[in-house]
């Protein structure tokens, strides 16, 4: 097990571990901005809404004589279906005056149900090489190709660069959207950019962490980081650090112990970071508050 933490259990396992770390860094950083914008539940709907797209993309690729496991193809399907989910969600909120949380519940469960039906159907079909599709539910690094890891790590780096460029307007819109409007920054565009980055990390994350759990990797590091600091910049760095460390540790652990689902291990580590923060963080942690109350 120590070998996998020291990146010495083979080139592929090392690559996967580093890829999961890049994913965690990007996801934690995006999640911090999303948390500050108070849209933490939206990616849950977006992630669950990827599943029908994964199934359909698989079926289409198999129908055209392909293997069906080509990751960029599956992610394209996931992205289209997730955007459809987001579109339905916004339509429900605007068109019916339904509160956003209820609309999220509807989109999440409907798309997820459709996805499960499709994936179950595909398993019964025995066509192509469907092994690994179940990894999109709970995340798995088993059977990942080197190109898959390059895609995930490269995408994660691009997301971090985009966040760096957009940081000021993201913060301004999250803190005071009316003021941003007056300053000539359009909140609708900035929100669209943020949602595009969320979609990007959700797509990069569903293979490793799974559609059900990827939202935890977005939100939990942000909540834990908020315990430690009163500065946005520091908070984003801490959230990225927690996400990166959990991605690294989770991938290494599940490489060392066979049968551990990668996504669940990563999320458990993220939760551990949150639990520790909630107790010992000096300002907002439990001990700090008890000490001030005493």
């Amino acid at each position: 097990m120590i070998q996998s933490f020291l990146l010495q259990s083979g080139y592929n396992a090392t690559l996967v571990t580093l890829g999961a770390m890049a994913l965690g860094l990007a996801t934690g950083a995006v999640g911090a901005f999303l948390f500050l914008r108070k849209r933490s539940l939206v990616p849950d709907a977006m992630a669950h809404a990827t599943l029908p797209g994964v199934g359909l993309a698989f079926l289409i690729m198999v129908a055209f004589g392909g293997e069906g496991r080509f990751l960029p193809g599956l992610l394209l399907g996931a992205g289209v279906s997730s955007l459809l989910g987001l579109w339905v969600l916004q339509g429900l909120v605007r068109g019916t005056r339904l509160p956003e949380d209820a609309a999220i519940g509807i989109v999440l469960s409907t798309f997820y149900g459709a996805g499960i039906v499709l994936l179950t159907f595909i398993q019964g079909l025995g066509a192509g090489r469907q092994a690994g599709l179940e990894g999109f539910l709970l995340g798995s690094t088993a059977g990942m190709l080197r190109e898959d890891v390059y895609l995930i790590a490269g995408g994660g780096v691009l997301v971090l660069v985009a966040l760096f460029v957009l940081r000021r307007v993201l913060i301004m819109v999250a803190f005071d959207p009316s003021y941003a409007t007056v300053m000539g920054v359009r909140p609708a565009w900035v929100d669209a950019a943020l949602m595009a980055l969320v979609l990007a990390v959700v797509l990069l994350g569903i293979r490793v962490v799974g559609a059900i759990l990827v939202v935890a990797l977005l939100i939990t590091p942000a909540v834990a980081a908020r315990m430690w600091t009163d500065r946005v910049g520091v908070m984003v760095l801490i959230a990225a650090g927690i996400g990166g460390a959990a991605g690294y540790g989770g991938a290494a652990l599940s490489a060392a112990v066979s049968g551990l689902p990668t996504g669940a291990v990563i999320v458990a580590l993220v939760f551990l970071a949150f639990a520790i923060s909630a107790v010992i963080a000096p300002k907002r942690g439990l001990i700090g508050r008890l000490r001030r109350a005493a």
Binding site: A174, V182, M183
Partner: protein
């Protein structure tokens, strides 16, 4: 007089409700103008519609004779304090630096000169010692002054303030009035949504009386009369307030 802001037949509707009804008025440079009217009269909405924060149902707002997009560098805004989450993880100085966003853009690093200018803005509102505090650790009046410092950082010629005196302490009130008067004396236009009728003639040069439609606009001495106020408040005017 040079017109800083002209409302031209400006209307705002929320669903079936007309919040602002065809308001036409000019706001001159070098004067402090109070926007006065009862609750729900559309005072804040009038400012927000001019600034594009809420959408207009008709008419337009001209800034220095042109569109807001063309004049944005000359226009500063101070929203209501209650409009943001003060638990947001940001320091006082960083809020003030937001006022310099047009200079900073996306990528230019914040330089020492930017920081010292932000500190000058904080000094004008008497918050020098609070630069590194988290905004949630401030009192309501101090938070209001942070917003004023952010507006000052915009180096504008037209300052639009939404209830700058709402729920503030006496020290903050005096500090804000001093800053607004110095802006006026430097030649800027200052417009504030205001509630306390008694202080209108003391602090302001001009007044815009609004109750969804424009009742009157002009110098306080001509417009701020009991008849006009009664018309504005529809007879619901507490006698104490005009005394």
């Amino acid at each position: 007089m040079t017109v800083a802001l002209a409302f031209e037949d400006l209307s705002v509707r929320y669903g079936a409700v007309t919040a602002v009804d065809s308001v036409t008025a000019d706001i001159p440079l070098g004067a402090m103008t109070a926007i006065v009217g009862p609750n729900g009269a559309g005072k804040s909405t009038l400012l927000k519609a001019a600034l594009g924060v809420v959408s207009k149902a008709g008419g337009e707002a001209l800034f220095f004779g042109t569109s807001l997009d063309a004049a944005r560098a000359k226009v500063a805004y101070m929203p209501q304090r209650a409009s943001v989450d003060w638990d947001f993880p940001i320091r006082v100085i960083d809020v003030v630096l937001m006022g310099m966003q047009r200079d900073l853009g996306l990528l230019r690093p914040v330089r020492a000169a930017d920081r010292s200018f932000a500190m000058e803005c904080l000094a004008r509102v008497e918050l020098t010692d609070f630069a590194k505090r988290q905004i949630g650790a401030l009192s309501g009046g101090q938070q209001q002054r942070v917003f004023l410092a952010r507006a000052l950082a915009q180096r504008a010629q037209l300052y639009l303030l939404d209830e700058p005196f709402a729920g503030v302490d006496a020290k903050t009130e005096a500090a804000i009035v001093k800053v607004l008067q110095s802006l006026r004396d430097e030649g800027a236009a200052v417009v504030a949504v205001h509630h306390d009728l008694a202080s209108v003639p003391v602090w302001f040069d001009r007044v815009l009386l609004l109750n969804r439609r424009l009742i009157a606009v002009g110098p306080v001495g001509e417009v701020f009369t009991p008849e006009r106020l009664r018309e504005t408040y529809g007879g619901a005017l507490p006698a104490m307030q005009i005394a």
